[in-house]
Amino acid sequence: GAGVSQTPSNKVTEKGKYVELRCDPISGHTALYWYRQSLGQGPEFLIYFQGTGAADDSGLPNDRFFAVRPEGSVSTLKIQRTERGDSAMYLCASSLDSSYNSPLHFGNGTRLTVT
């Protein structure tokens, strides 16, 4: 009965480095979402997957951000050439499917700090 798991819980990296953030959704959930939450603000949508494919990636801020979900379960958010402005909480959520009747279940987030 595990919930959505995100690892690591905290990540500190230097400007210019590459980072990967991992999300393990609830078993059987076909939809998976990434949100970014800057300090003192509400979460902002980045990308969502339905199965293995990205159904909507309109929230990715630029081409340094990329996400994959190769087997339709675990997803990885990848950030290249990190910048200080990338510092934020990255939230993952999953749902049984992408309909309104399938509420989102959020993980505890990964707090990324770029120094």
């Binding site: 919930g3 939809a31 979402y33 949100y35 003192g40 603000q41 509400g42 979460p43 902002e44 949508f45 969502y48 339905q50 159904a55 909507d56 929230g59 909480m89 939230l91 959520a93 749902s95 992408s98 309909s99 309104y100 399938s102 509420p103 989102l104 959020f106 993980g107 505890n108 987030g109």
Partner: protein
């Protein structure tokens, strides 16, 4: 594009009393859904209550209820008999009909319940 505004950055309430959190949104669409999420210090975002825009009746979940005013584009959350465990950030969120669970969040209201 849709926007969600929460005009109260912080609020406090005495235990057992009632508090109302405000939310307004802007959209040109007529079919959508509205949500209130709670984010306690543990960081995990939890769904509190949700409302379908086509329903005139206000949603209620135990001590939580909403006042949905579609014409005014207002969606406030009332918490009755406040408990210490209600201390958290509260986010109002908007989702277009058939938008695949992609939410637009407000900036949040920090609620402190005092003993």
């Amino acid at each position: 594009a849709q926007t969600v505004t929460q005009s109260q950055p912080e609020m406090s309430v005495q235990e057992a009393e009632t508090v109302t959190l405000s939310c307004t949104y802007d959209t040109s669409e007529s079919n959508y859904y509205l949500f209130w999420y709670k984010q306690p210090p543990s960081r995990q975002m939890i769904l509190v209550i949700r409302q379908e825009a086509y329903k005139q009746q206000n949603a209620t979940e135990n001590r939580f209820s909403v006042n949905f005013q579609k014409a005014a584009k207002s969606f406030s959350l009332k918490i009755s008999d406040s408990q210490l465990g209600d201390t958290a950030m509260y986010f109002c969120a908007f989702m277009l009909y058939n938008a695949g669970n992609m939410l637009t969040f407000g900036g949040g209201t920090r609620l402190m319940v005092k003993p």
